[in-house]
């Protein structure tokens, strides 16, 4: 039987999307793929492999950019910006670096991208990201 003391009226303490799961690691893994692919591309003389490298690198770079953008738009909040005035600049640069990795086979660009993602990761960690945005334990 339904508990008679249980309210029928629900009030929302939600955010827009209740998911709220963020982690720069997602961007980092895609960016690492790009880095390794560029290495393989440069070392190989197999035209087929080189062509495949380009295709897959473009796809991975696009995903990197997407994950950076999601952190930038959805995870970071005004109070985080107060704490880290370089937040916008870093995310902007990271998005641009991801575009460069998509367009070129420049290993320096891939390295720069990784560095920027690491900076985003620092800000995510310093704002309590690991505790607040990742599941700590999943109930069976």
């Amino acid at each position: 039987m339904r508990n008679p003391l249980r309210p029928t009226r629900r009030v929302h303490a939600h955010c827009d999307i209740p998911c709220g799961v963020y982690d720069p690691e997602q961007a980092r893994i895609e960016a690492e793929s790009c880095y390794k692919i560029i290495e393989k591309y440069t070392a190989s003389s197999d035209e087929l492999l080189r062509a495949r490298c380009i295709v897959v690198k473009e796809e991975r770079a696009e995903l990197t950019k997407h994950h950076i953008d999601v952190l930038w738009h959805d995870y970071f909040k005004p109070e985080h910006l107060e704490k880290f005035p370089d937040l916008h600049e870093t995310c902007w640069k990271a998005s641009k670096a991801a575009s460069k990795v998509k367009q070129t086979t420049d290993i320096a660009a891939a390295k720069e991208l990784l560095g920027l993602i690491d900076r985003i990761d620092e800000m995510w960690k310093a704002t309590g990201g690991p505790e607040k945005t990742r599941l700590q334990a999943v109930a069976a």
């Binding site: 309210p7 009030v11 929302h12 303490a13 939600h14 709220g20 909040k77 005004p78």
Partner: protein, 140 residues
Amino acid sequence: MSTERGRLRPLSWFLLRSLALGTGVAAVAYARRWLDVVEVQGRSMAPALLPGEWLLVERRTYAHRRPRVGEIVLAADPRDPSRELIKRVTSVDGRAKMIQLAGDAPDSSTDSRTFGAISVSDVRWRVIARYWPAERIARL
């Protein structure tokens, strides 16, 4: 053989009981005009309020005075008036009759930072207490 349990009760006992019950029902019916109970959904008011908690709310106070900073209130969601939000008052502009609302957990809250200030007249219900779970019973 008459036992203590089998003894007939006087008519006045039934009358008195009916009267007490009737008064109780009438009192609840009357109080329901300005008292209600609600269930919290979502985590934006954590740790003060957690999802699934049951609260007592009333709408007498704001008929006489404005909400004050720090009070927990119910307000129609400006983006979807069929939804009711539960948030804390963070500022009151007496002249403009606007108030700002925020969740206690800014990382998982959509509030005045997103939808701006709302009109004082849209806030009618004030949260007064939590009555469930029993170990978290408290005035709020």
